[in-house]
């Protein structure tokens, strides 16, 4: 379907309580082209975490919005993002996936750049003549690179607002994660990268959709229940409340959105014990929680420790702070195919025992061979396939939207979609200028 206006793709009717997205939003190449131009080339995009570039010269290769980049710490100690393309003819100057380097020497003709991007050596320079100026031929950077609490972002939009302003209400959840440890956070080595035959927005929705949990993931819940041994009844009840109980959706502005469980779902490595962690882990988990109370007082400690949450950091990052803390990033390749990165992230100073539990819980639920994520993948791929059934259909995202409805709400997903449609409709970058700022604490519709 060729759409007339992006605004035709979303029906947002608060009076009737109807919110629908036209399915061509997931299948159309025109839509994806517009998304690349008006979302991925304008928004701030997550690049990496400071712990991945700990020492001077540490680097990681990434592809951000289809651009090959090097995320690195320069010899001056600064975290940086450089485009990984030689200024001479364009070859990749960094060819390893990650590592530590003093300089990047291009393998084609040998132009060499230091870790701040400066061109420092050109073999046989004299034939270039007197106007050749190495200082103008350093590796280039994306127009904007900033970090917030150790999370580095870049934007291809020179006029992008400052990162903290862009992150808006999502900052609160990054803070809660970062405050888990005084020593800082660290990406656990061993990342998952996988393809999925679905549109990127389907995956974003899925990671923030709690409605499917008890239906789709019953084998996971069954496994947890089997782990509880004699306390099975008690923990089944715990899990039931954890999953259904007190979920609340928030619009965090700028397309960011959260769903709070109001409960430590299946335990939280930081710092609510669950039988699945095993009795040996209990003292460590409880001590971690006491430390949070000492540092922040009971109320803030409870927000950090006791509340599982899924946060959309618009457009394509998910912070899933549940039993373990997980970052997921979704990259569109075609309308019906994405590539996804998952990382576990946790306190840099946790004990080997707690790290082992964290890794185990990460693998068990969101792992590519886990007891949850493969089912999510099957579901979103099945939706994508279903879109071939009829080009004219709409998907429904109306839960909790009607003025008289109560209980669960998909307001977090609607917040993402509203920003999406505003971005697509906006010919200039200032898509989210019309104020819509409920902020943290205000449950949205």
């Amino acid at each position: 379907m060729s759409f007339v206006q992006p605004t035709d793709l979303v029906r947002d009717d608060p009076t009737a309580g109807v919110f629908r997205v036209h399915r061509s939003s997931f299948t159309s190449q025109e839509v994806l082209d517009l998304e690349m131009e008006r979302i991925f080339e304008r928004c701030w995009l997550y690049v990496g975490h400071e712990s991945e570039i700990e020492r001077r010269g540490d680097f990681v290769r990434r592809t951000i919005a289809r651009r090959p980049v090097i995320f690195l710490r320069g010899s001056d100690g600064e975290g940086r993002v450089l485009f990984n393309s030689c200024r001479h003819r364009g070859a990749a100057v960094c060819r390893a996936a990650s590592g530590n380097a003093k300089a990047f020497s291009c393998f084609y003709h040998g132009w060499t750049y230091d870790t701040t991007g400066r061109l420092i050596n050109v073999p046989d320079e004299s034939p270039y003549g007197p106007c050749f100026d190495k200082s103008e031929l350093g590796l280039t950077s994306p127009p904007r690179v900033q970090s917030y609490r150790g999370f580095y972002f870049m934007s291809l939009n020179p006029d992008a607002e400052e990162l903290p302003a862009y992150l808006a209400g999502a900052r609160e959840y990054i803070d809660r994660l970062a405050d888990q440890s005084q020593a800082g956070l660290r990406i656990v080595p061993g990342g998952y990268r996988y393809g999925t035959k679905a549109n990127w927005k389907l995956m974003m929705e899925n990671f923030s959709d709690t409605y499917h949990f008890e239906t789709l993931h019953r084998t996971y819940l069954k496994f947890l229940s089997s782990q509880a041994g004699d306390n099975r009844k008690e923990w089944d009840e715990y899990n039931r409340v954890a999953v259904f109980g007190r979920r609340k959706a928030y619009d965090l502005d700028n397309g960011h959105a959260a769903i709070e469980f109001g409960y430590p779902t299946n335990g939280r490595i930081i710092a609510v014990w669950h039988p699945a962690f095993g009795p040996a882990a209990r003292p460590g988990v409880e001590a971690a929680r006491s430390r949070l109370v000492e540092r922040f007082g009971e109320e803030r400690a409870a927000a950090i420790a006791d509340n599982s949450v899924s946060v959309i950091v618009y457009p394509n990052l998910i912070l899933l702070d549940i039993v373990a803390s997980i970052l997921m990033q979704v990259w569109p390749v075609t309308p019906g195919y994405i590539e996804v990165d998952n990382w576990a992230i946790g306190p840099r100073d946790e004990t080997p025992e707690m790290l082992a539990r964290r890794i185990e819980q990460f693998e068990l639920f969101v792992g590519s061979a886990g007891f949850g994520a493969p089912d999510d993948m099957e579901a979103v791929e099945s939706c994508q396939e279903g879109y071939a059934a009829s080009a004219g259909q709409w998907s429904d995202i109306s839960r909790g939207f009607h003025p008289q409805s109560s209980g669960d709400s998909e307001a977090n997903l609607r917040a993402m979609w509203r920003e999406w449609v505003a971005n697509l409709a906006s010919e200039t970058h200032g898509a989210h200028d019309e104020a819509r700022k409920p902020g943290v604490g205000a449950a949205a519709r």
Partner: protein, 161 residues
């Protein structure tokens, strides 16, 4: 020089393993493991991954392995319901250590998974420790290391490797 008949015994055991998995006879397959077993699959970006310090795809002890099989037998393990078709080729079998109790084995594998109109091969090698028991061998350590750079085509590791 290890006894060449030992290698054929090991090969027979690995072929039996492959056949049980290809036929989805998961309970029979589970009987091939010792109670103190480990089954590990590192991530594609960190083939040397150590499951105590690094995130891996799979880090099962016997209890978790039973959980995995129970899940796969349910019709709610949606990525494998209905089951995919698989075909496992195991080759280049080498005995790297031998004792009266155990045999260490390295072998290469290609596992084709066919489902939903796609075929994706899992390519890699096994690092195995087999316990010798009266009834033949059992897996004490099974580590399947993948050669792919990502799970681009596969999406997940929803089958047993």
């Amino acid at each position: 020089m290890p006894d060449p008949s030992l290698r054929s015994q090991v090969e027979d055991f690995l072929y039996q393993d492959a056949a049980l998995l290809d036929e989805w006879r998961l309970d029979d397959w589970l009987a091939l493991f010792t109670a103190d077993c480990s089954y590990v699959v590192p991530t594609t970006d960190l083939p040397e991954g150590d499951p105590t310090r690094h995130a891996v795809f799979i880090d099962d002890n016997y209890e978790r392995l039973v959980g995995r099989v129970t899940r796969l037998k349910s019709r709610h393990a949606h990525r494998e319901y209905p089951y995919s078709r698989t075909r496992r080729l195991v080759a280049n079998v080498r005995i790297t250590r031998e004792s009266p109790e155990e045999v260490d084995v390295q072998a290469s594998f290609v596992i084709y998974r066919v489902r939903s109109g796609d075929m994706a091969p899992y390519v890699g090698h096994y690092e195995l420790t087999l316990a010798r028991s009266e009834g033949g061998f059992k897996f004490r350590k099974r580590r399947a290391v993948l050669d792919m750079e990502t799970l681009q085509e596969h999406g997940a590791v929803s089958i047993i490797l």
